[in-house]
Symmetry: C2
Subunit: 193 residues, 2 copies
DNA sequence: CAACTCATTGAGTACTTACTCATTAAACAC
DNA sequence: GTGTTTAATGAGTAAGTACTCAATGAGTTG
């Protein structure tokens, strides 16, 4: 049997991934690989044993993140067409991953195509549920007759705006926690007839 | 008289500034100084004769930009409280400087404090006029009774969202030109009672 | 126990960047 | 015309980065 080695290798990989998530959340994706090795208590070279390039490490993190978050958004279907509860759930999931999500909003522009697309896919996940609910409520004349994708973009634009300017709106605090109800209230009152 | 030298020095400075504006608009603020020297047809060292550090070059560009754009926004007062025309004018000014403005939206987060503040000041300029009009229309019950600053953030969030995702919404084209009327229409119909 | 495999190491390499400074030549003062 | 000032030059420096690879030693196998 050749188990102990495999196990240790897997553990090292996980340590690197966890360290990278932390370091990138705090310092951004241009943080040096040396900082990740430090955080993971692993030699610098070890990173390149597990990931041939930094880009492959980014991609791995993004795919993990996408899976995690998609799993949490799947439960959105439970809420049916209750827009308020969908919005609440949306923000709650983002709060859970606020640091990393904020980094993505800030830096996705500079990530390579593949990573960018993964991030866009995450947003599509929410949009599916929200658009469905919006269309339903528009047809029921509860929500204004505005193209639903523009409503969705307004919502995401608002949230990302607050995330990007977090230092301004809520210094040393979670913007999403602080403004959750204000954001939802504002958006709801805007879209309603 | 010692004129020719001063004139040539000033011209070189302007050439560097113009080149930097172009290069940064196209490649972002992390573009190497060598690219700017190339574009300006000036030696690499020349840049540091006129600007002690790259940061001082960034700041100079931002201050120029702020002055230009503020001058154009000052005419906003002519429009009084006509929100639609204010929004139109806002987008028109941004269209005029779209490439550089887009870069700022994308990268302001990483610029040093002073540059970031200059960018924030630009946004305040618009907010003054727009908030005034919004408050007026709220008191006249034409616009919904939502905190005006949240309405402003919704508007700016929407525009910045479209700018950030320009490649998605309008590949190889100006997002603002393409979506100007849609954005204004959407926002107006949302805020109205 | 001996031979071998392989995850891990960290000093070293190759590259890119902002910034320097001795040198040059054009503009200027007399 | 001669000497001085100074804008401009570009090869050179220092610092930081991702990535490599020969050496190590713990794990594994017979």
């Amino acid at each position: 049997m050749t188990e102990k080695r495999q196990l240790q290798k897997a553990q090292t990989r996980e340590r690197i991934i966890a360290a990278a998530l932390k370091v990138y959340s705090e310092q951004g994706f241009s943080a040096p690989t040396a900082a990740i090795a430090d955080e993971a208590n692993v030699s610098h070279g070890s990173i390149f044993v597990h990931f041939p390039t930094v880009e492959s490490l980014w991609l791995c993190l993004l795919e993990n993140f996408s899976q995690d978050i998609n799993a949490e958004f799947n439960s959105l279907s439970e809420y049916g067409n209750d827009i308020e509860r969908l919005l609440e759930r949306h923000i709650d999931v983002l709060i859970k991953h606020e640091d990393f999500y904020k980094r993505l909003v800030k830096e996705a522009v500079y990530l390579p195509e593949e990573e960018k697309n993964t991030f866009i896919a995450i947003q599509s996940m929410v949009s599916i549920h929200l658009l469905q609910a919006l269309e339903r409520e528009i047809s029921r004349k509860v929500v204004k007759n505005v193209p639903p994708h523009m409503l969705f973009n307004t919502w995401l634009g608002l949230i990302h705006y607050y995330l990007l300017n977090g230092d301004l709106f809520a210094p040393q605090d979670s913007v999403l926690k602080r403004y959750k109800s204000a954001l939802i209230e504002c958006f709801l009152s805007l879209i309603k007839q």
